[in-house]
Symmetry: C2
Subunit: 220 residues, 2 copies
DNA sequence: TAAATAATTTAGATAAAGCTAAAAATATTT
DNA sequence: AAATATTTTTAGCTTTATCTAAATTATTTA
């Protein structure tokens, strides 16, 4: 059994190693979790001793297959709770992450199975992220950055960086959410900002930075 | 903001002081929480410093009005989660307490309000205990021990000691649950065991000890 | 490539929540 | 009213998860 803190580290290291190189740096973990690098080093030692990570001093960390399994189950819980909060309690999709960050640490096999059933075995969470099944299998569909589309491309928003509350709030305001249909109208050469049409209604300009943090699946 | 441990102590002290004398002993807390008396003394100091308890060395502890308010809100959360687990996730009524013991510590005003609404503002939990409202008001109805009834009395089971897993399991087996209608058929003088009829169906004998731990409201 | 800079680890400290063993206060028996 | 037993507190220790400051290793730059 892992402590809440161990679980948070493990999940972070899993996420960082999925979204980039396999070797995760101490600083990147520290930055994400807002703890000091020395604290990260301590925790890496603990998790390595439990064979959930491999670590080479001064070089970097990568997750073991046992660590991966555990991390995926935490992510499963996190995303199922997000669905519950969003669909049943009617939270907005930018409010669910923080609460799920706590709920994910409640350990009770039966609880999560019953929750899954109650929610009718959802496949994606409110941010468009896939929900691993009981066996840890994840159904991943190819996603690209909205910033990579060309003029007249159409797409469905499938994912948004949910670690930044400000971004989520902004997208809420301009009515972009998971499942929104977006058409690229124009791309401004000067600053790479783009003009888009959301759900065949409002047209807005968004900065390149924003477009970089919205992942979509192309539909033509 | 209180830690999980502080919350558990505060709730325990509130419960002990409700069900008995106002002065709660260090040993009784220790017994209930399965920690050592010395650990209890430490925590009493911490909570006293926060003005949630009053404590006189070697004499005893009682809860302050601030402490009471906080304790009641924790109990509110506990019981609402129990309703969720029982009604929505279909847990048995003897399984919900343990899980709610963890869920009650998730602190988010909006979460508990939305949960309350979602559950349609329930008045009692699956063990028959009243659920305090947002303002901490509790609607308490008079309850008596099943062991205090006389022959031919009828009653509704309203409450069962939910701290003892074994008792709950046993009652589940003989199909006694909150809301069950019970008629006292016979009282055995020798050991005060009683013969009861449950929901106008099965007749069973239960020991005096069991009857002492079932609270009911008389219906005639 | 040597110096400067950045990243990482180590050493040592702190706070929370528990523990054991011993001391002190209170309660109960002879 | 002593003696004995029980309850409670104190003193000191442990583990977990943080931190700061200093040391070490790796990387970048001049
Ligand atoms: Mn978390
Ligand atoms: Mn999510
Ligand atoms: Mn609890
Ligand atoms: Mn209950």
């Amino acid at each position: 059994m892992l402590t809440t803190s161990e679980e948070n580290y493990l999940k972070t290291i899993y996420n960082l190693s999925e979204s980039g190189k396999k070797q995760v740096s101490t600083n990147s973990i520290s930055k994400f979790l807002k703890t000091k690098p020395s604290s990260v080093t301590d925790m890496i030692k603990k998790l390595s001793a439990k064979k959930l990570l491999y670590h080479k001093k001064y070089k970097g960390t990568n997750i073991s297959s046992n660590g991966k399994k555990l991390a995926i189950q935490i992510i499963r819980k996190h995303r199922l709770w997000e669905v519950f909060l969003f669909e049943k309690l009617n939270f907005k999709w930018d409010e669910v992450h923080k609460i799920a960050e706590e709920l994910e640490h409640i350990t009770n096999e039966k609880l999560i199975e019953k929750l899954d059933k109650y929610l009718k075995y959802p496949k994606i969470d409110p941010h468009g992220d896939p929900i691993p099944n009981k066996n840890g299998e994840i159904n991943i569909k190819p996603k690209i950055k909205l910033s990579n589309l060309l003029i007249n491309n159409n797409c469905i928003v499938s994912n948004v960086n949910d670690d930044d509350g400000n971004l989520l709030e902004y997208l809420n305001k301009i009515k972009i959410h998971i499942g929104s249909k977006i058409k690229v109208f124009d791309i401004i050469e000067y600053d790479k900002s783009i003009e888009i049409e959301i759900d065949s209604k409002n047209k807005v300009f968004i900065s390149n930075r924003v477009a970089e943090n919205i992942l979509v699946t192309k539909i033509n």
